[in-house]
Every structure is written in C-alpha cells, then in structure tokens.
Symmetry: C2
Subunit: 239 residues, 2 copies
C-alpha cells in the first residue's frame, strides 16, 4: 500500500528490566523500531504479524494496534537519500520511499526467553535495549515508543500484560518490578501484594526461586481463565 | 493521500439517550459515518477536525483517534459503481475511489445542544440516531461504531467523557444514565452516587431541575481542574 507503513514496539521483560527490540540501521548511526510495509492484498494485522515473526522468530504474539502517526513532515527525505547513497544506491527524487508516509503503531508483548532477534535486510543489528537507555531513535520512533508506553500504562487493567511479559513462573518482586517500570513509579510492597492477591488471578506454587542472596521468594503463575475473566470487568473492580 | 480515509463516530447525549451523528447517502438507502480524505500536506488530526467542523459546525471538539480499519475487502467496489451510476456519473474501473482504502477511526464527544447537523455533498441528510436504533451501516461502519463504543467503555475512567457529553449543568440521574448507556448495564443508584461523589470532581449546585413529575433533582457541574487531576490517576484509584 502506498504511503503507509507499520512500526512495532516489541516489549520484553528480563532481569527486572523492561526491554524494547530495536534495529541498528545500515549506513547510519541510528536505531529504529522494527517495521514494514503492507502488501496490496494483505490485512494490516497480518502485515504486523509477519514483521514480528521475521524479527523475533515467534508467531503467537500478543499484539495491539495503538495509534496512527500521520504528521506530514515525519519522513526525512534528505536522510533517506543520504542512507541510500552511502549504501551505493542512487535514488530518484520521485521514488515511492521518499513520499509522505503515515505509520500504524503496534505494540507487542513477548516472553523474552523465546525471542531470537533477527535483523532485517536494511539493518546491521537487532538487539534488546533497556527502556531507560533509549533517548533518541530514527525519525519519530521515540515518540511512537512513548505513546506505546502510555497505552501500556492505560491498558494495565484491561490487557493481560503481566501474563504476556513474564515467564510462566515468576515471583511477586518480579511482577511488582514490571508494574513499577510500566507505571514509572515505586509501589508499596505490601499494598501491591495485597492488591494482586486480592484479584484471585494467580496461583502460589509450592516452589521458590533459588539462588538469590536473600530468602528465596515463592513462585507464582497466572490462572489464565480467572485472569481473562477479571480483565473483562477491569482489574480495579469496574462498574 | 491515496488509499487512506478517516471516519468519525460523533457521540452526543440528549433526552437520556446516547446519540450518533449519521449521514444518509444520496442514491442509496444507507446511512454512514461522517468521513473524509486527507490532503497531501495535511496532518491526519487536522483532517479529522476539518470533517467534524463541516458536519457539526463546532471546532472545539473532544476528539480521539482509536483504530485503523484495514481489511483488504472492506470497500465494496460494486456498490460504489452503482451509487455513482445512479447519480448520473460514469466511473472508470481504475478510479482512485475504487481502490482499497484503509480508514482511521476517530471518536468525538460533543454537547448535543451546540451541534447543527449538516450533510456533505454526497449526502441527502445528516441526523442524530439513537445508538440502539442503529443496526446496519454502510460498508464496515457498524463495526467501526462498535469499536468506538468499546473504546469509550475502556476510557471511561481516563477521559473526560461525562464532561464532554453532558451540558454544563446536569442531574445525577442524567449522569448515571450516560454511564449505563456506555457500559450497557444497569447500575445501582446509591452505589453510583456514592462513587461519583467520592471522586470529588463535581459541584452540587444550589439549583434543581424543575418541570418533572417527581421531586426535582439537584443540578451538578464538573470541577474541570479536579476532574482532569483525577483522570490522570485513573478514576478508580489507580496505582
């Protein structure tokens, strides 16, 4: 489809950090969100699934469209021409890639352990970045990332965000850290535990996480059926 | 912009009913959402504001982009050709209007009293419909409306929805009816009143709504500063 692209903010959670999968561009010292175009006969959702599969190796991914970015000046023609020139390509001024592009933003939540980051043909590298280390990205991609994070925050009580980002077994401190990272604030340990337990969406397992210096914390897993039911009402009680 | 349109779900609230502004198409027995195209140099948000201003006469409107509808078969070529033929136009099979179109959905919340519905050149009529009377619309517009309503439901605790849909002064039963319509369920009168009062976002006025058969209910107005502050945290308490 002309003038239309999609970009994916792929979130993962590892070592108590919220991570984002980024691509290092060839012939430019910039990192970008993984993205792609939409084929003439392709559903936009399918296109997003295709891009995610190509970059992560996974095809069962929690995926949500969240916003279209449509500012007329969001594409930097000069930058593009420069990148192509450095790559040894001469590009015509009327080339479709230099047109105005609107991009549809998707966010994806993946289990970090199952992802094999794979660069696309236009990229030199594909890697996880700590959310807090990302200050500047290609074009308006930082803006897209910020909007994805804002959406995640708003949807924390309506989407199975914990379920999709955490491994099958996790500890209460890990879950709290995930919430704290998304909400960008410290939460009280006791309140958090009481609240999460009160939802009745998790099972306390008879195992503990071993290997730490402190007392080994218990492992939990989500009860997916109860989790989904609670989300439909909204996790804060709803109306 | 080629292959890209926008459609607006314009909500109003009148006589205890949630209403949607629709256009009756010329030369077809169908109603549609107001929509339009995006000029080459126009921001997508500006295009939505332009369409809303044209249809409602208002330009200070609460407006939110909510979803892109991108199914490859969402445009019905045969239907379009037929409508043009009935209107006395012959349309080429390669005409841009017959291409695949993706559409960006916006929802708008307006104060019913200030709107002057105005049909566009392709329409015979522009009118408010009761939400519950809308069963079928042009193309996938019913689907777009349903998605807008779902979004409204999810954002009830994060967007100033009551403020934008109700007149400056309203009664508690009117506010409750608005919530019930959006949530599509009956709410308990006492709980609702306690909850809304508890947020501290409304002022009880020293006036009552006169003219009804029952005891005249008190009028309220929103304290916009407190309302906005409460929304930032999320009206259900947040984290």
């Amino acid at each position: 489809m002309p003038s239309l692209s999609l970009d994916c903010v792929i979130f993962g959670f590892h070592e108590n950090q919220l991570k984002v999968l980024l691509l290092k561009m060839k012939n430019a010292d910039q990192w970008a969100l993984p993205g792609g175009f939409i084929y003439r006969e392709e559903d936009i959702e399918e296109a997003a699934i295709r891009v995610l599969k190509e970059r992560t190796g996974i095809d069962q991914i929690f995926l949500q469209q969240f916003h279209v970015f449509g500012h007329p000046q969001r594409v930097d023609r000069k930058f593009h021409i420069d990148v192509f020139r450095k790559g040894g390509f001469k590009i015509d001024k009327d080339n479709w890639i230099l047109q105005r592009f609107l991009t549809v933003g998707y966010y994806a939540l993946v289990d970090f352990a199952y992802v094999t980051p794979s660069p696309d043909p236009g990229s030199a590298d594909c890697a996880w970045w700590d959310l807090h280390d990302i200050h500047e990205l290609f074009l308006d991609h930082k803006n897209i990332l910020d909007k994805a994070l804002e959406t995640l925050r708003l949807q924390l009580n309506h989407q199975p965000i914990g379920y999709n980002l955490l491994p099958a077994k996790f500890t209460m401190p890990e879950l709290q850290k995930l919430y704290e990272t998304i909400l960008d604030k410290k939460l009280d340990r006791r309140n958090f535990q009481r609240r999460m337990t009160g939802y009745g969406i998790m099972k306390k397992l008879p195992e503990t996480r071993k290997g730490g210096a402190h007392k080994a914390p218990y492992l939990y897993s989500f009860d997916l059926r109860k989790y989904r039911k609670a989300l439909q009402e909204g996790l804060q009680g709803g109306w």
